[in-house]
């Protein structure tokens, strides 16, 4: 028994390397490579100012990912709550400094790096909720009193991010947490209740929205109502995509983006350049890469032996899905414009690193998939 436990519980570095899901890593590299190529294009065929720096960030992020992957999954379980606490503190710091900064203060300047605490929180919240639900048994999950703590755990950071204001990330946190609640087995009717409650809250939320946010919602339904303001982005974005056609205008030949008709062409709206230059075919290839990553994420979850690993994998994968869905739906004019980057493609350091760290955790779940973890610390699983 001890021998088996040794093999299972304490792995050598070599075992870990052999156990790693290299195919998922290849997919992530391919996607990020695609992103760097797009950043090269939107800069007019230059590595500066985006592509080269994005490549460096990806290298840093990928190293971190591998490091995270090789750290024992039980250590991540132990660190889940402390990391969540750090995330909360960082969000509060931003909140305080936000008064000093202009408009939306979302970053903490670390000198070499602008840290976006909301990105830290995306991972920390998944970790914390996974740990919490890992500790509950099937009956507890059904009981409302056991749900109070995770609800607060999810709502506090979401609210902090919302007042930054960063509606996109707030939605991401809220929906990501919801997915974890769902996967953990919270009863159906409770989700229905939340849904009805959310519908009822719409007028209240509408009042609280910033003017520009309301504009975005209104222009979604009728982009032409404000062709120079809020509607401009979405109009130009659809023009870029639509004019790409089936095969696209060719790499580096997208007129919409190169002639600056597209705003935010390197960050949130980069998918439009991709669609313009590579057409439907290019867009479907990217969607295919994403889908493959999602399938691998879920596959990792199904293979994991611990509830913590399963929830963690599903949580990270779903957060990744939310990124890509919200971003692509937004640029295609399906939902209002909210600030959510296209994962692994958009220019931006924090999101890239947080996604890679998230997949580091998923890989860690995979590498340590057979390690059983007791529901409560100290208790051995039987």
């Amino acid at each position: 028994m001890a021998l088996v436990d040794d093999r299972r519980n304490e792995m050598t570095f070599f075992q870990k390397v052999r156990n790693t899901n290299w195919f998922l890593i290849v997919l992530l590299f391919l996607t990020a490579g695609f992103g760097i190529a797009m950043l090269y294009s939107v800069a007019g065929g230059k590595m500066d100012p985006w592509a080269s720096r994005q490549a460096v960030r990806f290298a840093v992020g990928a190293s971190l990912m591998l490091f995270v992957a090789f750290v024992d999954i039980r250590i991540w379980l132990r660190l889940a709550y402390p990391l969540y606490a750090i995330g909360l503190v960082l969000l509060l710091i931003v909140e305080v400094m936000g008064e000093v900064g202009m408009g939306a203060q979302r970053w903490i300047d670390l000198g070499f790096f602008n840290l976006q605490p909301s990105e830290v929180m995306k991972i920390a919240l998944v970790l914390a909720l996974s740990r919490y639900f890992h500790g509950l048994n099937a009956e507890d999950v059904q009981r409302f009193r056991w749900l109070l703590i995770p609800i607060v755990m999810a709502l506090v950071p979401a609210a902090l991010v919302l007042v930054e204001p960063d509606l996109g990330t707030a939605i991401l946190l809220f929906l990501g947490a919801g997915a974890l609640f769902f996967a953990a087995g919270v009863l159906w009717w409770k989700f229905a209740l939340v849904f009805v409650g959310a519908l009822g809250a719409i007028p209240f939320v509408w009042d609280r929205l910033h003017l520009y946010q309301r504009e975005r919602v209104l222009t979604l339904f009728n982009p032409e109502r404000d062709p120079l303001g809020a509607g401009y982005q979405i109009m130009q974005s659809k023009i870029a995509l639509g004019s790409g056609g089936l095969w696209g205008k060719g790499y580096l030949l997208g007129t919409q983006s190169h002639l600056n008709f597209l705003p935010e062409k390197h960050s949130d709206f980069i998918f439009t350049t991709l669609g313009e230059e590579f057409g439907l075919v290019g867009g479907l290839i990217l969607l295919g890469l994403y889908t493959a990553i999602l399938i691998y994420g879920f596959a990792v979850a199904f293979r994991a032996r611990s509830q913590f690993g399963r929830l963690l994998a599903v949580g990270v994968t779903t957060t990744f899905f939310l990124y890509l869905f919200i971003n692509i739906a937004m640029v295609m004019g399906l939902i209002p414009v909210v600030g959510v980057p296209l994962p692994l493609i958009s220019w931006g350091g924090s999101a890239m690193v947080s996604i890679l760290i998230g997949f580091g955790l998923v890989l860690s779940v995979y590498i340590h998939r057979d390690i059983p973890i007791p529901r409560r610390p100290g208790l051995d699983p039987t």
């Binding site: 002639l259 399938i295 509830q307």
Partner: protein, 621 residues
């Protein structure tokens, strides 16, 4: 253990649902992508091109205006200018100050440029200075490398080499105004100029040409990225006028500072060789844009430089009208040439007395004498017999009181009164006294100098209804010149009038003998006219009529003279009107003489088409 199994089962079920939902949503994205990029693609492609492709018009060079010999009366000259591209300048204000050392550029102009720079996008060139001399332009070129953002540039501007000498005929160009807009997009180009008067205006479309188009790719800010293709326009066509630049120049110099006008035309073809109106004005000033002060000066000048007096000045013809009255009388058979009428210096009609210019009277007058010496009493008498309506009919045949249709704008048609006209106009009946006054070209009768020239031409060419024209050859007017029609005027009447005009300037008793041409091969035949501007009161008559030089300028008589030459084989008709110039014989006749000498000299020098003899012209008598 069982609980954990439950948890695991629930998780698997829920995760599958979650994954399924995600798969469905990703499929939704793919469907939307298909909708945008395949089904709606064409529409978006169009929108993308609308975004990025701009049409830029390429203004065509304007056609030149030439005189009959090919001398340029209006052409396009290089406009040396300096433009500023703000984004290339480190400090616009500093650059402008440095530039002001090289070319005249005062603080006001610099401030104007700065304002303009702020309004435009930084890559749009802003004009700093225009119409620089070559020296100034060269200086800017030399220092340009030290003046970041400054760019020497060569544009095109309309130029008039003869300045004010041709301005009334050639006209000028100016900025496009609201009413010039015809839908031609060229007109909406900033800085575009259109003809505002003269030939420049009436032949605008012909001179303008057709715009070329350059399709350029622009970015979201309107910056031109590259030219996709270009279709050259069609330059405006050159236009050749019947005017002779040297003659016109000479005429303008002759008229000098007077408020006067003169017209020279070919009596057979109707080609106008000279059409002078003084004072002139600088057409270039309108192109650049007049200052308020310059405009006030031009419009406030009592000698009215902006008016083309040759076609728009309306004057009582005075005695130059007597040929018309004579022909009307002869044609009606009411007077025979030999019939004598006694001039005592005045005639009485009712309680009104009508004076002859010669207070002592001319004695017995035949028609030739009466024209030669310009006896007023003779014409009072025959006018009374003929009646105003017959006089008016004859006058119309000779082009008086009707528009000549010359190809420049603002022509006036003068006034040839009839009974009907007066009734309609004033509601009162025609008075016989008014016929008498009209008989010597006073009263209601008004003519333009051009009409006088036309009248003279029609007399001299043997009664052909020649029409004046200014344009030599253009598709519009070139081949449509038809043989003028013979007018319903008796040959005898015409011959008598021609002979009378010969005598006016060739026999010592003639009113214009002093202004004769001594070289008989060039001799002129003419008729003087002096038209009264003020009313002479009875008291003044009884005391002493003031001489013209005792009167203020605007009350002096207009001096008129019409003539043709050479007397032996008439070819050129001329009319001269000097506003408030005094008597026709002293103020107008010498000018007409000089003009006729000049035109005949030019012909002898074999200048251009003046020397060409027209066969159809020779055929007529």
């Amino acid at each position: 253990m069982k609980r954990d199994l439950n948890t695991h089962r629930t998780f698997t079920r829920r995760a599958l649902l979650l994954g399924g939902a995600q798969a469905a949503l990703v499929t939704g994205l793919a469907a939307r992508m298909y909708y945008l990029q395949v089904i709606e693609s064409e529409q978006y492609k169009l929108l993308a091109d609308e975004n990025r492709i701009n049409l830029r018009l390429l203004p065509p060079p304007r056609g030149r205006v030439l005189d009959r010999t090919g001398v340029e009366l209006a052409n396009n000259q290089q406009n040396y200018r300096v433009v500023l591209i703000a984004e290339q300048a480190d400090n616009v204000a500093q650059t402008l100050e440095a530039l002001a050392e090289l070319i005249p550029l005062d603080a006001y102009e610099r401030a104007k440029v700065l304002r303009e720079v702020k309004r435009r996008r930084s890559f749009v060139p802003v004009t700093v200075a225009e119409n620089l001399t070559w020296e100034e332009f060269a200086r800017v070129n030399v220092y340009a490398p030290d003046l970041p953002g400054i760019q020497p540039d060569i544009g095109e501007t309309r130029a008039y080499p003869y300045g004010g000498k041709m301005a009334h005929v050639v006209g000028y160009v100016g900025a496009v105004s609201e009413r010039d807009l015809t839908g031609d997009p060229l007109l909406e180009l900033p800085g575009f100029r259109v003809g505002k008067s003269g030939i420049e205006r009436t032949r605008e479309e012909y001179l303008r040409g057709k715009a070329g188009v350059s399709r350029v790719e622009v970015n979201a800010f309107g910056r031109v990225i590259r030219e996709l293709n270009r279709r050259e326009g069609q330059p405006g066509e050159d236009l050749r006028l019947s005017l002779d630049a040297e003659l016109q120049n000479h005429m303008m110099d002759l008229l000098g500072d007077e408020s006067a006008s003169a017209v020279v035309m070919d009596i057979h073809s109707g080609e106008v060789l000279g059409l002078a109106s003084t004072p002139g004005f600088d057409p270039q000033a309108f192109n650049i844009g007049l200052t308020q002060q310059a405009w006030t000066d031009l419009t406030g000048d009592p000698r009215n430089p902006l008016m083309n007096k040759a076609i728009a000045g309306q004057y009582p013809p005075g005695s130059t009208f007597k040929m018309i009255v004579a022909m009307a009388a002869l044609d009606a058979g009411l007077v025979s040439p030999e019939q004598k009428i006694f001039c005592s210096g005045h005639v009485d009609l009712g309680n009104q007395r009508f004076h002859c210019w010669k207070r002592t009277g001319h004695g017995n007058m035949e028609m030739l004498d009466a024209i030669e010496q310009s006896c007023d009493v003779y014409f009072y008498d025959i006018a009374k017999r003929v009646g105003i309506d017959r006089i008016a009919e004859t006058a119309r045949h000779f082009g008086l009181g009707v528009e000549t249709g010359i190809e420049i704008p603002a022509e006036r048609k003068g006034l040839m009164p009839t009974r009907e006209w007066k009734k309609a106009r004033t509601g009162e009946a025609w008075q016989q006294g008014e016929t008498l006054v009209a008989g010597i070209g006073q009263g209601f009768v008004l003519i333009t100098p051009l009409q006088l020239a036309v009248m003279t031409a029609r007399i001299a060419n043997g009664g052909f209804a020649v029409k004046p024209r200014l344009i030599m050859d253009s598709p519009e007017s070139g081949e449509t010149v038809t043989e003028p029609e013979r007018m319903p005027i008796g040959r005898n009447a015409l011959q008598l009038v021609v002979e009378a005009m010969r005598r006016v300037s060739n026999v010592p008793t003639g009113t214009a003998f002093a202004a004769r041409i001594k070289d008989t091969s060039m001799a002129l035949s003419g008729k003087t006219g002096t038209s009264q501007v003020r009313r002479i009161t009875r008291a003044e008559r009884e005391n002493r009529v003031l001489r013209n030089d005792e009167l203020p300028w605007e009350q002096r008589d207009h001096a008129l003279f019409v003539a043709f030459a050479p007397t032996s084989a008439p070819r050129y008709a001329v009319s001269v009107v000097v506003e408030h110039g005094g008597s026709g014989s002293s103020a107008a006749a010498p000018l007409a003489r000089d003009i006729l000498i000049k035109v005949q000299e030019l012909e002898r020098a074999g200048r251009g088409s003046l020397a060409t003899v027209r066969p159809q012209a020779e055929g007529r008598g």
